[in-house]
Amino acid sequence: MLETIAYSILNGVLYGTLLFMMSSGLTLIFGMMGVLNFAHASFYMLGAYFAYTLGQATGFWVALFIAPILVGSVGAIVERYGLRRVHQFGHVPELLFTFGLAYVIEELVALFWGTVPVPYKMPDALNFTAFNLFGLDYSMFKVFILLVAVAMFVGLWVLLKKTRAGLVIQGSLSRPDMVGALGHNVPRVFMLVFAFGCALAGLGGVVGGIQFVTDPGMAFMMGPIVFVVVVLGGLGSVPGALVASLIIGILQTFFLSVNFSLAETIGTLGIEDSGFFGVLWHMEATRIAPVLPFLLLVLTLIFRPRGLFGKREA
């Protein structure tokens, strides 16, 4: 049991850091622009595919830097020529625009790279065992992901707390209407924040695509979970996104790796494996895992719409 717990915490933290790479950008974009970017996970996917293709020409290390920049550029174009136009119609059309965009990006990715997973592999330099825990190998690449996430968090923190641009962003997180009054070019700030958020998701994709799988379905897999994270953390709150990412990451990994059901742990208590509660009683944890984030999402929205750390209600 101890092995399982330790191992699922390690893997959960890993998964959580990947979630944070996506959710931090999403929550920044929402906090500032009020746009819940449905296509955010699509930019994560683009990051993986760009890095895969670039990597074939330049190698992983160059791709690690170029791919997020490319994704950010795509984000900037989307904001400049799409979202900005829709912005005047209100928030619901914005949501719908990104909803449609997610479909289109998925199809385009399937068009250019095919519907089957591409062989996006970790670089040889990281392909060795970093340490061994309870007889299970923990690869250097996983350590590398953690390092990237930590670097990103530190970079983000410095950017938000120590730079002028960060002050503008922070200010606008609490009072979006005041940015313009202070003489900033609001559309430009919006575009840059959107591009930046997308680039963060792209960076997540560069490493996430290797850790998991790089196929056109990866956005659809990740998208809803990222929403859960930002809602749980509190829309617009970066520290909230971090904490919520880790919670969801650990919780889901834990449920996937342990093998228990209420019936096995507590005993059947004479409850038959039929009917709603009976089935639930005998359900193995691994089968509950996919439902868990959504249950959390709904419960959070009902009982605490501002999430764990949010200042404003969604």
Binding site: L36, G82, R85, V86, F89, H91, V92, P93, L95, L96, F97, F99, G100, L101, Y103, V104, E107, L108, L111, F112, G114, P224, F227, V228, V231, S274, F276, V279, M283, R287, I288, P290, V291, F294, L295, L297, V298, L301, I302, P305, E313, A314
Partner: protein
């Protein structure tokens, strides 16, 4: 005062769609009589009810739902269980004609349960809760295999059930007529609901929930009632789905189904009663016919949807309606030619874009890109430069002419006219 009382009173002339549409619906199976076509028309009818019920939320109450398939799907499942009970009882029990009602009641029941937790807030919170509930129910459908039948789904037999009128539903035509009858009932009811105090206040709450409070209405309750009624009609559509397909699986509660109804409704136009009808019909036809011609149909859908959101948020019906109003007000005088030119240029541009997309799909996705393939009646080689150049040229010429020539010209002409009118 005389003008006031006349407002909104439906003149008999305005009732013509309610007469024409049923007649068309009755005649259609005699023209398109293949099993595939009749099936398609049944699906269209069901999609129309579903989209109309969806628009009770989005268009009338301003609630954007990402999980409306939950009520469609759960309605379908409950109706299917009842159909199976009837089957197992040796074809005795509830008449087939009333089984869709079971779906409606189930939809309403689940609407009450989930609606109670969803409607406290509108806007993004509502959208997220519906997304969450949708994902929750869809994931659960694979957990609780007793009720949902697992991945294979559940089967029933519509012919092995009693009929109130002694009709044999073995043929798909008679089932189609039953579905059309229910569609008409549902459409009329949804139309009438818009005219009731609840329907009016739904619009009021959509536009200004605060003001609605200060005339005595609780916005949460208005949203809740609309939500429950909408779920009822979604469940009815689900019940009809059971009759037409005789199978339900987890797809009916899934996110794709929820997304499709949103797409269809919005493409048609959420501000108009006929919007969802037009949108659902187009989406059903395109989905069925386009998918046999091209792999790219989901992409076309996505692009169409984005195009509508960006350039015509009032939807297809809205665009036609606005142009009609402008034409009636004489706004087309002297620039009808330019308008047609604009439309033509746009169509040419779309044609070019379609060529490019089709070429891309062949080039990237087929086993042998150099194999000749048919494009718009020509046989071309996608590895050669020529088809690409021509397609791009058509697309650029079309969109270029539309945006850089026709549009400014129309703007100049109409701008000059309104200024002249004022002077």
């Amino acid at each position: 005062m005389a003008t006031n009382t006349a407002v909104g009173k439906p003149s008999l002339l305005k009732l013509w769609p309610w007469v024409v549409i049923p007649i068309v619906a009755i005649i259609l199976p005699h023209i398109f009589d293949s099993g595939h076509d009749i099936n398609l028309m049944s699906h269209m009818s069901i999609a129309i009810i579903f989209a109309l019920s969806y628009n009770m939320l989005l268009g009338n109450t301003g609630l954007l739902s990402f999980g409306h398939a939950v009520y469609f799907g759960l309605g379908a499942y409950v109706a299917m269980h009842v159909l199976r009970m009837v089957n197992e009882a040796g074809g005795e029990g509830l008449p087939l004609e009333l089984i869709p009602l079971v779906g409606a009641l189930a939809g309403m029941g689940f609407g009450i349960i989930f609606g109670a937790v969803s409607v406290r807030r509108a806007g993004v919170v509502f959208a997220m809760i519906t997304l969450g509930v949708g994902a929750l129910v869809h994931s659960s459908s694979l957990m609780f295999t007793d009720f949902f039948g697992g991945e294979a789904g559940l089967f029933g037999d519509r012919t092995y059930a009693p009929s109130m009128f002694g009709i044999d539903y073995g043929s798909s035509v008679s089932t189609y007529y039953l579905i059309v009858a229910w569609t008409l009932v549902a459409a009329i009811l949804i139309y009438l609901l818009k005219k009731t105090p609840l329907g009016w206040m739904a619009n009021a709450v959509r536009d200004n929930p605060e003001r609605a409070q200060f005339v005595g209405y609780d916005p949460t309750f208005v949203r809740f009632f609309q939500f429950v009624l909408s779920a009822l009609f979604a469940g009815l559509a689900g019940g009809l789905h059971v009759l037409s397909d005789e199978i339900v699986n987890d797809e009916v509660v899934g996110q794709i189904q929820s997304g499709a109804v949103l797409l269809g409704t919005y493409i048609g136009g959420i501000g108009y009663f006929v919007g969802p009808i037009v949108g659902a019909s187009i989406v059903t036809i395109l989905e069925s016919s386009l998918s046999t011609y091209t792999d790219a149909w989901v992409l076309y859908f996505g692009l169409l949807f984005i195009g509508i959101v960006m350039f015509a948020p009032m939807g297809i019906v809205g665009v036609i309606h606005l142009q009609y109003l402008s034409w009636k007000a004489g706004g087309w005088k002297g620039n009808t030619g330019i308008r047609l030119y604009l439309l033509l240029a746009g169509l040419v541009g779309i044609f070019g874009l379609v060529c490019v997309i089709e070429l891309s799909y062949h080039y990237f996705r087929s086993w042998d890109p150099s194999a000749p393939f048919g494009l718009m009646g020509f046989t071309v080689d996608a590895t050669g430069a020529m088809p690409w150049l021509v397609s791009f040229a058509i697309a650029i010429a079309g969109f270029g002419a539309m945006l850089l020539h026709a549009k400014p010209m129309l703007a100049r002409r109409t701008g000059a006219k309104t200024e002249g009118g004022k002077a």
